[in-house]
Symmetry: none
Subunit: 406 residues, 2 copies
Amino acid sequence: MAGEFIDSLILKNDKKIVFLVMDGLGGLPLPGGDQTELEAASTPHMDALAKKSICGLLDPVGDGITPGSGPAHFALFGYDPVKTKVGRGLLSATGVDFPMTPRDVFMRVNFATIDKGGVLVDRRAGRIPTEETERLCRKLQERVRLASAATANVEIFFRPEKDYRAVIALRGDDLGEEVEETDPQQTGLPPRPPLALAPAATRTSAILTELLAQVKEILSDEPKANMILMRGYAKYQQFPSMVDRFGLNPLAIANYPMYRGIARLVGMQVNPLTHTLAEEIGALEENFPRYDFFFLHVKHTDSNGEDGNFAGKVKVIEEVDTLLPRITALNPDVLVVTGDHSTPATLKSHSWHPVPALLAAPTCRPDRVEQFGERACLQGGLGRMPMANLMALALAHAQKLEKFGA
Amino acid sequence: MAGEFIDSLILKNDKKIVFLVMDGLGGLPLPGGDQTELEAASTPHMDALAKKSICGLLDPVGDGITPGSGPAHFALFGYDPVKTKVGRGLLSATGVDFPMTPRDVFMRVNFATIDKGGVLVDRRAGRIPTEETERLCRKLQERVRLASAATANVEIFFRPEKDYRAVIALRGDDLGEEVEETDPQQTGLPPRPPLALAPAATRTSAILTELLAQVKEILSDEPKANMILMRGYAKYQQFPSMVDRFGLNPLAIANYPMYRGIARLVGMQVNPLTHTLAEEIGALEENFPRYDFFFLHVKHTDSNGEDGNFAGKVKVIEEVDTLLPRITALNPDVLVVTGDHSTPATLKSHSWHPVPALLAAPTCRPDRVEQFGERACLQGGLGRMPMANLMALALAHAQKLEKFGA
C-alpha cells in the first residue's frame, strides 16, 4: 500500500497533518535496566496524547533491517524505502541548497591528507572544521580550470557541507554516475583513480581525472587538507512529489542538511534554519495557516543515541514533551509522534528495532495504550506496521483518501 | 498468500466452513463514548465463541484504505482485492441474475429527468421506486428496436435493479467497454454523448448513440423518468472460481444484489431470496448437508451504520447474537464471524478501520480474548492481518490445505 496505489485515491481538503519526528526515537534499556529511553523519560503530555490515540510500532524497512536516515525518512513520507533509491551525492546537494539542473552529476567529497608519496594518511584531514572547508571550496572554485578537449562545456561547483565534507557538482552533457569511488576506505593506500564502471561514465571519468590532478596541485600547500576523496556519485533525479502524489502543501521544519535535502526531494517547502526546538515549534505556529502538512524534525534524540548518552536522549525527549502542548494547541486534525528509526544509546548507532508511534485524530478507535513507550505500543491499535504505510493512515484520518471500489 | 499460492495446496474433504459476515461490522465509539457498536452490544454467544476462537483484526485492502463492498468481499473470499477488478456494470448484471455470455457488455443505468431543453434536472428521476423502474424497463424492452446497419445482430436487455437503477446488457460481436459515461455527475448540464474512448469501442458507441435517441423518444411521455444515464461499462469477465481454486462447493445466502453478484462471480451457488435474518439461517440449516462453504450475509449492520444509527447497528448485532446458537448447533468445522469492512455510525460511511474477526475451530490455539470486540481482538491470536489471507486460515483449520514442501 505504500506504492502508488493510494495516490489514485487522493481527496484534497483543508485538514492539517503534523508529523513530529524525533530522530532515532526507539531505544533499549541500559544493561541491567528495564526501561528504554522513551519509557524512562517523564512524558506526561505524550502519555495523555497516547490515551486518546492509536499507537503501534513501525518497521522502517523490514524485520532486522537497520535503516539509514534516507530510507527511514522516505518511509515516513510514504515512499517505498527499498525502491526509492537516491545517491548520496544528490542527497548532499539538496541538503546544501544547490540549485540543481537535469544535466548535473553530484558527488560527496571528504577533504583528506596524503603524504609526499601520495599515500592516504587521514581520510578526514584531521576533521577540519566547517569554516576551513568553506575556505577550501572557495579556493578550489576560484582556481580549478577545466580546459582540455575532454572537459569542454563542463561546469564545476564546489560546495561545503558540515565539518570536512563537501559536495562537487559537474554540469554538462553525456555525464554518468557509474564511476569508481576514489576513497580506498583505509589509510596506507593511495586514493583510487576515478575509473569508469560503465560506458556511460567514460566522459565523467576523464573529467574527474583531470579535475583531481588540478585539485592535488592547488591543495599542495595545505597543511592538512591536501587532497579530496570522492564517492556517492549520483545524477540528478526527479522524484514524484508529495504535492503531486498526495495533494499536500507540505512544509519541512528541520535544521540538518540531509533532512532538509530529503524534504526537498519529495517536494516540501523547507523552512529557513532555526536554532532551538522552541524556535522550530515557533516556525510551526507561524506557518500553520499556510500549509497542510508539517514535518518537524528533532535531531538530538539521535545524536545523543549515537553518542551513547542515555540520559541525554531522555532529556531531549522530555524537552519535546514540555513543548508538545504548543503543538496540540494548534489543534491539527492529525498529529503523529514518532521517530524515523531506533538509535539505542547502548548500541551507539541506528538499529533495526521498530519505532514507537502514536497517531492522534478524532477518528481514532480506542486501544488500551495508556502511555507512550515501546512496550505500551505493543498493545496499540496500529499493531506493528510498515513505516511506509503510516502516511496512508494519516491521510485517511484527515479524510484525504476516497473509497476504493464500489 | 492471497494469490494463487494456496490453490496448489488444496485437499478436498467433507469439512464445512461457515462465514457469517455482518456487513460494515467494525465501528467507532460515539463522540465522548468509549465503546464501538460491537463493544456496546450485548453478545453473550459471540463472547462465548470468542473464548474458544482465535480473534484478530482484518485489513480489507490496506492501512488507511476504505474499501467498497466489492473489494472487501473479494478479500473475504480469498481474492486479492486490488488485483481483482470488476466493472460496476458486470457486478450489477450478476446481482440481477442476468444469464451472461462472453459476447455481453453491461452498463449501469440511472433513470433521470431532463427538461425541455435536454438539460439534466434530476440525476435520479425523483428517486422513483423499484416498481416504476420495473415498468420502465419492460416498456423499453418492448419498444426499443435497433435497426440500422451499425446495430445489426445486436441484442439489448433492460433489467431493473433497486430504486431508480437498472442494468443494460448489449450482446453482439466487436463490442467494447471503453465508452464515455453519459452521466455528467451534476444537474444543469445535458447528458454527455457515449463517445468511444478507444477504437475497440467504436461500434458500441454507435449502438449506444442510436439507443439513447430511441430511449429519449420512448420516455418522452414520462413525467419523471424521461431519460437514462449510463456508466460503469464492463465486458463479461470470467473469474477463477472458488470451486476451481479451493475445491469448495460454496453457497451464498445473501439478499442484496451486489453480494449475490459477487458470490456468483467467484462461482458460488446463490440461495433464493429470503426476507429475514431468521430465514437466512433457516436456509443455512436446510442446505447444510449439500454444500461445504457457506457465505451468510447480514446487511443491516452496514445500513444502520450508513444512516448514523449507532443504536440500530447495536440492535442488529444483538439480533445476530441471539440467532448464533442455531449456527453453532450445526457444528460447522470452521465458523468465521466477521465483517467485510467497518461502517462506524459516527462516520455514516465505510471506513478504513480494521474489522474484528473470530475463527472458531477445534484446531484453534488459545489466545486471551474473552469477548468479541475491536479492542479485545487486538490481543487475539490472528493479530492484524490482511483480510484476503483469512480464507487460507479457514481452509487450513478445515484441513483442506496440504503441507508445502518436503
